[in-house]
């Protein structure tokens, strides 16, 4: 399953916004979720809620991130949320 944040907007600020996106996803477990953050501005609160909400439904979350800042953010959050083994960061594939 792939979540392209840019399909949902440009900026994502609140936990409630993450819940909205989570609620719109297909129900059930999936082996892998790819979260493409290209072109999206996110807050730590939004991202924490999104990753926490995804983790019960999958064993692998791949977050596609270009910037070093957001890469650090995802890695720190994953560690803090106890999701280091579940979340992996990857750079976008060049077009």
């Amino acid at each position: 399953m792939k979540i392209k944040l840019a399909d949902h907007g440009r900026s994502f600020a609140t936990r409630a916004r993450a819940d909205e996106i989570l609620a719109a996803l297909p129900k059930g477990r999936t082996p892998k979720v790819v979260v493409d953050m290209d072109g999206a501005s996110v807050t730590p609160s939004f991202l924490a809620q999104l990753l926490s909400g995804l983790s019960p439904h999958t064993g692998h979350i791949v977050v596609v991130v270009e910037s070093a800042d957001v890469t650090r953010l995802v890695e720190s959050l994953s560690q803090h949320l106890g999701l280091s083994q579940t979340v992996r960061v990857e750079p976008p594939v060049p077009a």
């Binding site: 907007g9 440009r10 900026s11 994502f12 600020a13 609140t14 936990r15 409630a16 916004r17 501005s41 996110v42 807050t43 730590p44 609160s45 924490a48 926490s52 910037s67 800042d69 957001v70 650090r72 953010l73 720190s76 959050l77 803090h80 949320l81 106890g82």
Partner: protein
Amino acid sequence: MRVAAPETVREAIDLDFLARASAARTSLDVDLGELRWVSPLGIVALLATCLSRRDREIRVTLPRDPGVRRYLHQVGFAGELLREGWVHDGADTEVVPPDLKVCLPVTRLWTEFEVERAANALTEALNGRVAANLIDVVHRVAWELTNNAREHGSPCYVVVQPYTGRTSGTPGLFMAVADFGKGFARTLRHTLGRRLPDDEAIRKGFEEGVSGTADPHRGLGLRFVQQDVDAYDAQLTILSRRGFVTRERGVFHAELRARDFRGTVASVYFPHVLVNPPTAATSEDKA
């Protein structure tokens, strides 16, 4: 209860005059007549204070200085007063649309939906005015501070404005958020098991895992704000009740003030982030 602003309301320490406002029992008169210089931080603090007393009668006398009055319209402050019926001044009876030079005019945020809408508006406004990679940084800091204010405090006001650097010496972007909640010390008391002095409580709030909620997975937001402030040479100030904390060049300074501000005001100044700094039309320019 009547409170009168000094000539300059620029820093958090200039907000002492608002400390008495919380004692207003029947009505609150805020006299801005002598005001000659006000920063965005002062503006959101003033509005949050009025909002906290909204069940009383509120009358705000606008500044006599025409330049400051004009700025208060441009930044959306006067419009908010008029919408709320808080203006005690016959000369300003029409809501003037905020100036587009202000990235995000004074905005009151009650709900998550309003936060998202404001976040989108700010992102749009920053496009082309702030280096692309810094839009994400400004977004993270502005809305993490806002989330904190709303979640642990109360409805809040936020404003984001470019500075020319004519007064401060450095062009940049200034943001301020103010709420009238219980402040850091009371919020953290439940999780820390004791009430820290206000200044120590603010410092503690930046430590990883320290949160006003009981959730062990929370308590990272301010840590990331600190990292962004340090990484981009920004300056952060937080006034929460009697606690006043600044962070600049990677160092915290904390002090316990005599006066009690009933709420929290946070501001961040990002220097050198504007692609084309403004040349006029901020309060800073008229100082």
